[in-house]
Symmetry: C2
Amino acid sequence: MSQHGVPLGLLLWRKIRALGVQSVMGVPGDMNLELLDYMKSVDGLRWVGNANELNAAYAADAYCRIKGCPGVLVTTMGVGELSALNGIAGAYTEQVKVIHIVGTTSTTAQRNRLMIHHSLGPFPDHKVYEKISQHVRAAHCWLDNLTTAERDIDRVFHDCHEKSLPVYIFVPMDMVNLLVLPSSTPSFHRAPIVDYADEAAAVATITSMIYESRMPVVIVDALVARHNVIDIARKLVHLLQFPTFSTSMGKSIIHETHPYFHGIYNGQVSRPGVCHSVETESDLVIDLGPILSDSNTGGFTRKIPEGNLISIHPRCVKIGNSTYKHAGLASILGALLREIDTSKLPRPDFPDLPEILPAKDAGSVTITQSWIWRRIGSFLRPGDILIAESGTAQFGLPDAKLPENVTYLTQVYYGSIGYSVPACLGACLARAEQSREGRVILVVGDGSLQLTVQEIGTMIKLDLRNIIIIIINNKGYTIERAIHGPEECKNMSFWNHLKMLEFLGAKNGKTCSRTVRTKKEFEDVVCLPGYTCPDSIQVLEICLDVMDLPWQLEAQIALINAQSEETQI
Amino acid sequence: MSQHGVPLGLLLWRKIRALGVQSVMGVPGDMNLELLDYMKSVDGLRWVGNANELNAAYAADAYCRIKGCPGVLVTTMGVGELSALNGIAGAYTEQVKVIHIVGTTSTTAQRNRLMIHHSLGPFPDHKVYEKISQHVRAAHCWLDNLTTAERDIDRVFHDCHEKSLPVYIFVPMDMVNLLVLPSSTPSFHRAPIVDYADEAAAVATITSMIYESRMPVVIVDALVARHNVIDIARKLVHLLQFPTFSTSMGKSIIHETHPYFHGIYNGQVSRPGVCHSVETESDLVIDLGPILSDSNTGGFTRKIPEGNLISIHPRCVKIGNSTYKHAGLASILGALLREIDTSKLPRPDFPDLPEILPAKDAGSVTITQSWIWRRIGSFLRPGDILIAESGTAQFGLPDAKLPENVTYLTQVYYGSIGYSVPACLGACLARAEQSREGRVILVVGDGSLQLTVQEIGTMIKLDLRNIIIIIINNKGYTIERAIHGPEECKNMSFWNHLKMLEFLGAKNGKTCSRTVRTKKEFEDVVCLPGYTCPDSIQVLEICLDVMDLPWQLEAQIALINAQSEETQI
């Protein structure tokens, strides 16, 4: 190798930076320290340093969801690597681009199977952990060959982007300082597999079905965001002006202020009238980027007649019984936008959804589930990010009507509790890099908070100031009480949330921590300057009744119970 | 199935209880709630409810290390299961018995590959997570067949015990309430593979080598504890009266107050004189239950002449070039204890180790690394448990001379930072069940604390009162500064440790939290009644200089640097 080359560690960070990445998550460890050093030599790249590795993975996931480029985390072989695995699996199942870089033992130690700390058992195979993550990644490489290293990095980045899935890069510690000669041309290229004839046929079928339809509707789902086609989807929906719905996972992709937006379609767990519009009145449903998990379909209660349905997936289009392979979301949406003749478009009436009646407990002085979610919605402003934890918040927040350009972030399919706190960190870092104004509002339950609370320390360390942490305190996992009875989880530990910021090192933690129980108290707090123009992390604990539930959760549980009774008959 | 059977969920808990288990770790989730219900029907079994799943795994690991019976944790498919994986890998590599019970989707959902929340990707294989954990377990079963369920449970328990390794039991949620007829006789039996001829030959060789030796020594290592032969090893060592050493991982197995105990043998990272005694002066080294990882051998710097070495492993004995297969630790130690003729034993002189000279900074008014570890040792009393986190504490605490019947607990080979805090919980629960007096003293760094801090909330919730948490505050990961330079990890977040107990819900958290910087302050605190007879969790933050290191760590790093210079020549 030439002495004029670039150290492999530096090459890796330069390539990471070239993807658009500016913040790198992770935890330092003896096997990645030298690798981390090289980060300092790359302009615009900073080391975050998380409190633990699972949190780093969650943060990297959210960073990608906001910025579109991959989230990156660095861990140490085994101990750190495996701690992050659940976060990576979440990114895999929800199709989020994450690059997990693992600092490993040296190639010599690997060859000799030395019992280096962090290894597994006697005469250890140092590559065993790589086998463990094979199920939750799209690609991986070992940077143990200088000749192929650059090409390997590029191949892995390519797969991460193309499939919108996590990938792994393993870096033996003795390789980091070795010199490579970076290639001046792209070292790896794989043309996307597209069947242009199939794609053209799909576009022709879709346009003619649209022109012939009387009452078309559009559903916008999560993969539109994950596969980076939000802008084009917004333009298409705006061009069509058809009644448009989101799923729980797709919420906020389409601006909710447009007159054609009509709320969340979630099978039988939708607002009155929504199911009727989509399943009965409509004669054509265009479903963009669907993830059809139970939690995103009202527990599999969608009933759209198959003949009415066009599903545009990331890599194929399904229309009735036909599948157009190798025709992808991005190119199909682009072609539709170009080719649709607006003069031929139907002009369907917007559905006349029944007014939402006041809840039975609408007059309550204390804060109720029927009140709080919509109130949080009206607290938001354009540019804000809203993050919802699994649990009651995730069921309730679909009711929040979002202003334009609010991004809603939650993990509905994987549903790993604890995700939201580190996600808030990752989202906040990503948003700052976009030079966009706005607050980051985290809604987390007192139960879920306990899994990953330490990451709030990282927010304080980094002096992030535009974060409002809303803790829904219903004294434990109310969602599990709802599923299984009020006695459940009675023995959770109860924290003093007003001390949290102080403990985690915030200088003004005491003055920025508040508890509210009544609507009046809530209103008094959210108009404070610290909330309208936050310049410090705010904590707002909202005390709710232990057995108060969002209506969506009640409906979902009623459905499950009805189904299980049916099964028993 | 008979209507007089026992629900499968109940059968599982009864069998868990029969192993000696009284506390079950874990986190509730929708797929394990019904299973957890049945725990209430088993006398003497209690649900702990941890703050997160990784912590639950660490706590289960430590529970086993104290009690000898398996530690048990319950998680939910995917999300919880994978979060615990790093803790299970640690148990695997350090040979700790842990039973990981995973509540999964129903067998119907599995068969139909439904996209139930927590699943992986589209058309998900619900059993994919089971493949992920195959590398870190000795056995597993799916309780999806009523006919074989009991036998499967017993087989898995058997392997857990015999191999002293983690095992998995997957419980589909639709199986929990189904009735099984428990068998009245053991449903599973597999005789241990023992070659009695080999065993007898090994014992004969060992005894004759002992009789012929002039200066035999014994090394006691971790697997003696893991394979539940502490008592018999203590008796044997006492019978022999040979100079006896521990490793870092084997510390506290042999009472350190006996005149024949001479400290920690850790290759070249041992006290002056120890290496000479073991490697040069001795003509026979009996090594009991070794784990020969870098971190337990002074970085592979042990130099015992092969012809002098008898290694007794859990399943075989190695003497020079010969291996006696199928001759195990328990039976060999038992046979030696029975067969040794004390009249033929050599009476070696005890080694004359040089006095430990006062450290250069012995006169320091403030607390130093050269002072604190031995001082913690003399603070201990018989019956106490001492838990050391990876990092400076793990390097320094081998200097602590332990009173009789103190149990020392740390994770040296796997070395996953964050282990110690949940381990403290698990150890404390286990000790309470043994009806033995004593305090549980946790020594954790300010860096490591951040990974798993929330488990202190579980200690408070359960009203555990005999825990003293010593936080070594050197403003970050000093061990990584030592390895890689003082600038490392400068950007860690700094917490206000005095607010920790209050935040996590302790009623008297404020009065039980203290900081000390000088030796005088330390002495004033540790003689308080709250420390001598604690009836409340105590937090003691000890501030140390950022670059002060235990001598063992300095020696280890000097060795590594010397080795790497040699390699370069």
